[in-house]
Symmetry: C2
Subunit: 387 residues, 2 copies
């Protein structure tokens, strides 16, 4: 069966309603992937994620490779069984973490050598090694090693990163094929780089399109650049991508950014925002963020989000959740994180429904107007700085 | 309706099968009360507690009085509504915490003045004030202010504590009646003190029996004394207590201690052991404790407790839970705490079933033999040292 199936194109936007088929089940698209960095979406159980309607999880190769290590995850029979998540999993390549988390690294065309942020031990990731790791993890969607440019980035190093990303993508595809990962049901993406330079982005996309990977990701975004530039990058690349493959905007974003990106033709999203913000007591609603730790909610016995039907909002008050945060009680983080993940997953369901009914332009306009009117507008997204 | 109803007496032990009736529902006895110190049983949601079969929660007057305070809890309509727990609640008096948590306190017959462990602010608890607080909380079962002797304790101060505990209990009963708390559906206990001195324990019990409170508690136990002495104290007091009222062994205990105490005629238990041990990665099974953080479980893909049917044991492996602890992930604490609370609640169901079938002596003998045979026997219970 084809990996990505286009069900319906929006008549007044570039949004796409589709479905992604994997050996661990279908994922209705556009979709959001809760991030389980260390094989757990922070504070939430897999039962919580099922109940919240998650159809896929993302997990981090770098973290899992270092701890607990492949011997343990392989011994469990792969990542699905290790973390008890029978539905699809996407794993990143670890490249981003090598660049953002390690104090020391050495980058060559061969690969990247680095010191573990855990114990200082030295490791080497190559495009082939990353595939071997992801084969052992058994994830449904695998990302290749790429070189993610920081922001800001001069033209020369950004060009060099594109060259190396393509070189690595070629070796990745070769290794992926030679080792039969595709026959095992795994699907390979490639990652468009090029920083904020249009010609580099287009060159990167062209070179990767020639490799005909199963899906395409736009990487090196949400690394500190202004939101306006991020969407410019998206607009340059997205129209070059094939209709019959899923498009993944990596590490994005705030709810309004997701709504906008869907309208431009993106199918897949991941971000730690809902769990991270939740752990700091910031909760999402259509009408703005509720910082539940704030004193104003001390005696507010209403729900976190009056429009939400999640267990947090059905069963607990703002005053109670604020009390939990004040007392340092773990349940506070959990209730807030649950609401936020639920909010994101429900937003995707609303997006898909609007697409099913072919009224995406209207939906997006209404959503964005309400969202923009919020008090205390969303701060710049720094969520990927330290994942 | 009578508060405590005796359903069946064990023919070969002193165990009792009963039911406690409250305005928030019935509680099948003997029962265990998960401890929600700050209006939350650590790491668990109320939905978790319902699912695990909890019929009652215990909460701490001292902590809730200081934070969030009565204005907030009163504003929510009482503690049940504040914490979203519609079933029965027992609140302690705060006396134990004043003695164990504060750096400064001044004890007189009038009451106890103390400095908050949170901000150093000064407060005064009197028997009447404690009743007023518990009336505002709206708990179903209320404990009076008592003086809990430490261990070891000389005879003279233990005698003084008994005198003061009786004095305070009299004032408590008077205030409880005058303010109509009983008509409001609340039920009052009194607490037998007297350290490890038989005559003091018997005097305390006699004096409190004259007050005819709704239930009787044995306090000042599990404060550091050897387990043997703890059960001696229990044996002196329990036979003096009336048949038609519930008997509460405060702050007890390890699973084998609960099984023994039920056999001596105790109906009610509370302890932070299941949540506290769970948070440190120690899990209870009939065959001993599993310290899931230990390296031996690194590649153990079996359940925490092979005999358990809780979600933790059905869905997750020891290796996975160990990984969560190693990575500092909150889900580890939660899964372990859930299992432990479930284990305790299920132990009580097994106890009640054995009583229903009038085979408690046999059940206890088998349970205790298996439990005693465990490797790494249970450490001395220090669980109340800092609640």
């Amino acid at each position: 069966m084809q990996f990505y199936q286009l069900l319906k194109s929006s008549s007044d936007t570039k949004a796409r309603r589709g479905v992604v088929h994997t050996t661990h089940g279908d994922i209705q698209a556009p979709f959001f992937m809760p991030v389980g960095t260390r094989a757990t979406v922070k504070t939430l159980s897999q039962e919580d994620l099922h109940a919240a309607g998650a159809e896929v999880e993302l997990s981090n190769t770098y973290h899992l490779y270092l701890r607990p290590g492949l011997e343990i995850i392989g011994g469990a029979g792969g990542l699905h069984r290790f973390m008890s998540w029978p539905k699809p999993i996407l794993t990143d390549s670890g490249g981003y973490q090598v660049f953002s988390l390690t104090d020391w690294r050495k980058l060559t065309d061969e690969g990247v050598e680095f010191q573990s942020h855990l114990d200082g031990s030295r490791h080497m990731l190559t495009p082939e090694k990353v595939m071997d790791i992801e084969r052992a993890l058994g994830s449904d969607m695998v990302m290749p090693l790429d070189e993610c440019s920081p922001y800001p980035c001069e033209y020369e190093p950004a060009q060099e990163a594109v060259r190396r990303t393509t070189l690595w993508a070629r070796r990745t595809v070769e290794h992926f094929r030679r080792t039969g990962m595709g026959e095992g049901g795994q699907r390979l993406f490639s990652i468009v780089q090029g920083s904020v330079y249009r010609d580099l982005r287009e060159r990167s996309a062209r070179e990767l399109l020639a490799l005909n990977t199963d899906g395409y990701a736009i990487g090196g975004v949400s690394v500190g650049e202004p939101v306006k530039e991020m969407f410019e990058v998206l607009s340059w690349v997205v129209d070059m991508l094939p209709e019959d493959k899923p498009r993944y905007f990596m590490g994005i974003g705030m709810p309004d950014q997701i709504v906008r990106a869907v309208g431009m033709g993106i199918d897949m999203f991941d971000t730690v925002i809902p769990t991270r913000y939740g752990r700091y007591g910031t909760c999402f609603t259509d009408r703005g963020q509720v910082v539940v730790r704030n004193g104003q909610f001390k005696a507010d016995f209403g729900p976190l989000d009056p429009e939400c039907d999640c267990p947090t909002c059905r069963n607990y008050s703002r005053a109670y959740i604020r009390h939990l945060f004040n007392a340092g009680e773990v349940l506070g983080l959990r209730l807030a994180a649950y609401h936020n993940v639920y909010y994101y997953l429900k937003l995707m369901r609303r997006i898909r429904q609007a697409l099913d009914e072919d009224r995406y332009a209207e939906f997006a306009q209404e959503f964005l107007a309400r969202y923009a009117a919020q008090d205390g507008a969303a701060p710049e997204d720094k969520s990927r700085a330290k994942t």
